[in-house]
Symmetry: C2
DNA sequence: CGTTACATGCACCGATCGGTGTACTTGACA
DNA sequence: TGTCAAGTACACCGATCGGTGCATGTAACG
């Protein structure tokens, strides 16, 4: 999958194994699930020897934990930091990208151990993400930002989970609900006739 | 877990193994997941020999398929067939029971094989369930029953999935959204001051 | 009775999986 | 050039898992 990385000075052969492993983990864990992805397959995909993987990560559980930890500062900013969108547009644009099943929900389903470190990461991420939504809802002038943020987060999780089973796109339905909620939460008409993606 | 069943005429020792196996499957698959539940553990919980399990079901995959097939005629009727509730109340009461993660979504996450028979059952069940919601929404006089039914189904899946990760109860949030959607979909005021569960 | 269908108990198999030991190679840097 | 850290190649281990063979037991029914 991922080619050998090229460092700042020419190509280093096997260096940067850690990042390649994590990259392969993201792809394979997303496509096949965590339990269904073996360490050997992971090594092959990353172009890394098995020994190297165990030198970087103490075991598969630690790799899973790191795989989940890496999600924190990535997904959101691209959308939330865009200056060309109003807060209201940001809240609605969340439903335009049809993302795969939330990795944390997937991990919570696949990992039996309730004390697995991944569980804590999952909760933390969900809280942080929801907080971001609440903040944006507040910027948009929502009457009850906490409420709206929690509701939109729920819709996103629902859409990604339901899409796993149904061919019909649950994100379209979720977007419609989101529009209803957002319209209801922003008291008067905050921005008349603003640019809105064609439904 | 389950004691030896007592048939109509006294206690039969091991008879009724098939149902005991399916009962244990429901419990263990729900609590531990499918992949994390071994056949041996399943047999122990059901009080059944391993050989018997393989005589009733060709293999674990067939057992999983049958486990999922059994969901069809069970969950819904209790609520949908109640005569003491108006259609509108039925739609809202769906969110009162905080069910665990939808077994079909769980299965879709855990089973890698896209051709696994479980996938088809999952789609069929989701469609049937949504159809039931649509029908009830139509009975309630919804302006766009298809739309409302699909939206409520999405909310239920979202609540069950999100509850898997968060301690905070997503069903409360989902119920609030459902109320907004239902109120918005039933044009005038269908039933003024009807009995409503305390929020 | 005896028959028959269902269930048991237990040993066992092959495959897979997570993880390790060890000796070897390679690239960067001084 | 020599050193050292990072990575490689490959064999190997123990545990687990899905699944099977086979001899035995037992409840129900005629």
């Amino acid at each position: 999958m991922t080619e050998v990385e090229k460092g700042p000075k020419g190509l280093r052969r096997g260096r940067g194994a850690r990042e390649r492993i994590l990259g392969a983990s993201r792809e394979l864990f997303r496509d096949q699930g965590i339990n269904c992805t073996g360490v050997d397959q992971l090594c092959t995909a990353a172009g890394v020897s098995k020994r190297t993987l165990y030198q970087h990560f103490g075991g598969k559980d630690e790799l899973i934990a790191e795989y989940l930890r890496r999600f924190d500062p990535e997904v959101l900013p691209e959308l939330f930091d865009r200056a060309d969108l109003t807060p209201r547009q940001k809240l609605l644009a969340l439903f335009d990208e049809h993302v795969p099943l939330c990795p944390f929900i997937g991990a919570a389903v696949e990992l039996r151990d309730p004390d697995h470190p991944a569980r804590a990461f999952a909760r933390d991420y969900k809280h942080a993400f929801t907080a971001r939504l609440v903040e944006t809802a507040r910027d948009a002038g929502a009457a009850d930002p906490e409420r709206l943020g929690e509701q939109l987060a729920l819709l996103l999780d629902g859409a990604s989970a339901r899409s796993r089973v149904l061919d019909a796109d649950a994100f379209v339905t979720a977007a419609a609900v989101a529009r209803v909620l957002v319209d209801g939460a922003l008291p008067p008409v905050s921005e008349p006739a603003e640019l809105r993606s064609v439904s």
